[in-house]
Amino acid sequence: MSEIKLGWKSLPIGGVLLEPGSAMRYKTGDWRAFKPIIDQKRCINCLLCWIYCPDSAIIRLEKFVDVNYEYCKGCGVCANECPVKCITMVEEKR
């Protein structure tokens, strides 16, 4: 995640950021202590985990959802909110 840090002559003036959504280059997945595992067979694709996820880390697929582990911080909101309890939080092993 190390960026080349430009000098004052090269940086846009006024501290403006010209690339929308550049935070996508900043991966927050390594914050995670617990990892959500989705049992996709049981997923009813209700999308509640998707709407409640603070990190946009739930990926909408055709029939079920998936987790984007590059960004998931492991908060567990998805598991807590899942109406069919198909998401389990397991300890992250690195």
Binding site: L17, S22, I51, C53, C75
Partner: protein
């Protein structure tokens, strides 16, 4: 009525922000931008969202976004709205731009209330969203005018003599509605449908609109990060956080709570209230319960409901 599978897949508030795990404000920002309807500029007061979403050179925002200072989101929004108005009149600009000001409770209830009042009085066409995590969470949990009675913060600690904040929460929507604006509402992100509908409604109103949304904070309210939406839901179900709107002066209760859960269900989930459960501070819980009951019946009666 919003359907989840019809909401845009694209995230205008992207991953990679550095809000805490389980932060309710992250969820609120995502929902907010899913309710936008076209060209949008967001003005963000200093606070958790601002700091965590735009650490240079990274930004989570895919709409134009401006941060100027802590106390002036509404004033900055006034300037942007007026400028686009002037530029359109001169033929130098051709689009309508939705301006959304976003501030926390510190930036709204306390240091920003003057700028907000001024902008509401002047009638600028913008939507102001206060995400209320009920203290200055960004700087490490200091009390604000939005902190509820009894809550422990670092400047209203759970002392041996004074058990948390002695004062009660300000009535923000009452203050805003008193300006005679067309739309003011409260919301909770647990009720995503209600919140997203309100954001859209607030944008559609010509003139100022204010939404006051409960923002669960695992760090400052002290609960497990997975419980954010549960806390936000309990806030409503215990009648702690009445969800209503004031449209052209007419109050409407959006979420009825005929059989409220006991307030202590909400309190005991959060470490900020844990000291109140010592026997000598029992009366503080009762005081808070009284406040909740009175607040609810006041709002219910404004909404024409029998409490």
């Amino acid at each position: 009525m919003v359907r989840l599978n019809e909401l845009p897949v694209e995230e205008l508030f992207t991953s990679g922000h550095r809000l805490c795990a389980g932060c309710g404000a992250g969820t609120i920002m995502r929902m907010t931008l899913k309710a936008t309807r076209g060209p949008t500029v967001v003005v963000n007061a200093t606070g958790c969202v601002e700091v965590a979403s735009t650490i240079y050179p990274y930004t989570s925002w895919k709409v134009s976004w401006v941060h100027v200072a802590f106390e002036n989101a509404a004033a900055v929004a006034s300037g942007i709205e007026s400028a686009y108005k002037a530029l359109r009149r001169k033929g130098l600009w051709d689009k309508h731009v939705d301006v959304i000001a976003i501030a926390g409770d510190g930036g709204t209830f306390d240091i920003g209330i003057q700028a907000l009042s001024g902008a509401l009085e002047r009638g600028h066409d913008f939507l102001y969203i206060c995400y209320d995590n009920e203290a200055y969470m960004n700087t490490g949990i200091q009390r604000s005018g939005a902190t509820p009675h009894g809550a422990a913060t670092t400047t209203s600690p759970a002392g041996r003599k004074v058990p948390g904040k002695p004062e009660f929460k300000k009535d923000l929507i009452g203050i805003c509605a008193a300006h005679g604006i067309e739309y003011a509402a409260t919301a909770s992100p647990a009720y995503w449908n209600d919140y997203i509908t309100k954001v859209r409604k607030g944008l559609e109103v010509e003139g100022p609109a204010v939404i006051h949304v409960f923002s669960p904070c695992p760090l400052g309210m002290r609960f497990d990060s997975s419980k954010s939406m549960e806390v936000a839901r309990l806030a409503v179900q215990t009648r702690y956080w009445p969800v209503y709107e004031v449209e052209k002066g007419k109050y409407k209760l959006n979420i009825k709570v005929p059989q409220p859960k006991p307030l202590i269900d909400f309190l005991k989930m959060q470490g900020r209230f844990s000291h109140l459960f010592q026997p000598e501070f029992q009366h503080e819980i009762e005081a808070l319960q009284r406040w909740v009951d009175e607040n609810w019946s006041r709002i219910a009666s404004l909404c024409g409901e029998t409490a």
